[in-house]
């Protein structure tokens, strides 16, 4: 290959990758539309929904709690250290609160859900596909979208905002503990500053982000599981791609939502 052909080949390769990514995004959008249309039409599978609530919500609590408390603590230390440079150490409670509620809480919970739930859903559904369990569902007159995707996506949409709310509180608690036990802040004034500074819009934005991230994380897990390749390699590939896609989409959605809600 000549030297002049190299940039051309690189551009062609970039173009192909872009087209493939856009095509995948289009397929995911169609899958999302189909999921939404099935959510509002019977039959509904109550038992599968309750199981999904447990898997997505309740069992994610430990990882969400641990992530939030350490992040809140680290955030307090960072703000205190940074604030010292311009004598603004006192803003630790306010910045921890706003940082956790508006940004870190939803994003970290979203990413934790992508790691824990998206991977688990993708691997489970992909295994079901590889072992013909999804074909078996069809022959038993059960729509895989209704039986597998709808309960999980609905559970993600409903429980992740709750997880985000809990994560926000635990994160603020982490900041509170570090600030009061290590940095010498007064407990009562820390709590008062936090409550006074936070607005309803901050909390609502956090919960909205949680709902969107929950929808994305569960939908992507189901999508990649349903479209998995064959064998163990197919299951592994579906899981890996699902986690990567969910993480990227959550971060992209976070930017869009933040721009919409706080851009002005």
């Amino acid at each position: 290959m000549s030297l002049t052909a190299l940039p051309e080949a690189a551009l062609a390769s970039l173009g192909r990758a872009t087209l493939a990514a856009l095509a995948a995004l289009g397929r995911i959008a169609l899958y999302a539309a189909s999921t939404l249309s099935h959510i509002v039409r019977p039959p509904f599978y109550r038992r599968e929904f309750l199981t999904a609530l447990l898997q997505v919500g309740w069992l994610s609590l430990p990882v969400v709690g641990l992530t939030a408390i350490f992040t809140g603590g680290a955030l307090a230390l960072q703000i205190y250290a940074g604030g010292q440079r311009f004598s603004a150490e006192a803003v630790v409670p306010q910045i921890v609160a706003i940082g956790m509620v508006r940004e870190l809480g939803p994003v970290l919970v979203g990413l934790m859900i992508a790691a824990r739930v998206t991977s688990s859903i993708a691997a489970e559904v992909a295994t079901m596909k590889v072992t013909e369990q999804i074909d078996a569902l069809v022959t038993l007159s059960t729509h895989p979208m209704k039986y597998l995707t709808v309960p999980r996506v609905l559970a993600g949409f409903l429980t992740v905002p709750l997880l985000v709310g809990i994560g926000d509180i635990i994160g603020i608690m982490g900041g509170f503990l570090v600030s009061t036990e290590q940095l010498g802040f007064n407990r009562a004034s820390y709590i008062k500053n936090t409550i006074d500074f936070l607005e309803t819009a901050d909390v609502v934005s956090s919960l909205i982000k949680g709902a969107v991230f929950g929808f994305i994380a569960t939908l992507i897990g189901c999508y990649y599981g349903m479209n998995s390749g064959r064998g163990a390699q197919g299951v592994g590939g579906a899981t890996k791609n699902a986690v990567a896609a969910a993480s990227i989409l959550i971060l992209a959605a976070n930017f869009v939502l933040t721009s919409v809600m706080f851009g002005s």
Binding site: P43, E132, Q133, D135, T139, L140, S141, T142
Partner: protein, 248 residues
């Protein structure tokens, strides 16, 4: 009666079915034989609508399957999958009673459980098996559970996808006998795909041989050994030499 007329299916450049013509008479047991990768599973899945053919027509009792109401159509079928395809997250009895607990044929839980235990007994499994999970069963037991699930709603038509693959010869014989008995006592139409000749002789009324995307030969099982078709003879006698290319 199931009829396939000029059915084709390709995956990319790989033309798996090249114009299948096949009739499965009502109440008969048709076994489709052929080497690995010849499209037997695709043929079976095309009838059920799990794979959409590129062209051709498939009819059930004279009605094009694309024009039938999907749930009503599928309610007439039962299927035993190659690996069992049991749902890991459900107990054995819930697998067997899956159809009975959902949709138009929904029954009370106790009744569905009772039917499931009865079907398990019919395939030679004890009632204690009902409360186990599929992962706790051996391969042979999983096949039996798959068989119980296939017959639970007493379908008119039952499909068997490689029913003896992965089983030892004795268990294969047991499954073959069960299939034959159940199909006979239910009066069901059956279609089995396999490359196990002992299954063919135990299960079949009619045999069709699929090779290179086409039905090479079809006829009663009694005529299979005396048929002149060289492809069929090579296959049923397992000869390396013959018109079917084998890779060494």
């Amino acid at each position: 009666m199931i009829e396939l007329s000029q059915v084709t299916k390709a995956f990319g450049k790989n033309r798996v079915l090249r114009g299948i013509n096949l009739t499965i008479p009502r109440g008969q047991s048709m076994v489709v034989i052929g080497g690995s990768g010849t499209g037997k599973s695709v043929l079976l899945k095309s009838i059920l609508g799990l794979v959409t053919p590129d062209s051709g027509r498939i009819t059930l009792d004279g009605v094009d399957v694309r024009e039938t109401e999907r749930d009503a159509f599928l309610a007439r079928f039962g299927m035993l999958f190659q690996g069992g395809a049991l749902f890991d997250s459900l107990k054995v009895w819930e697998n067997v009673a899956f159809r009975l607990m959902r949709g138009h044929t929904k029954r009370p839980k106790a009744e569905a459980h009772e039917i499931a235990v009865e079907k398990l007994r019919r395939v030679g499994l004890k009632p204690e098996t009902a409360d186990l999970y599929p992962a706790e069963l051996s391969g042979g037991m999983q096949k039996r559970v798959g068989l119980a699930r296939a017959i639970a709603a007493e379908p008119e038509i039952i499909f068997f996808d490689e029913p003896t693959t992965g089983l030892d010869p004795i268990m294969s014989g047991v499954i073959n006998e069960l299939i034959r008995e159940i199909v006979t006592e239910m009066g069901a139409t059956a279609m089995t795909i396999t490359h196990d000749m002992s299954s063919v002789r135990a299960i079949a009324d009619q045999v069709a041989m699929l090779h290179d995307g086409l039905i090479r030969w079809t006829g009663p099982v009694a005529e299979m050994d005396t048929a002149a078709d060289p492809y069929l003879q090579q296959f049923i006698h397992g000869r390396a030499e013959g018109p079917i290319e084998s890779v060494r």
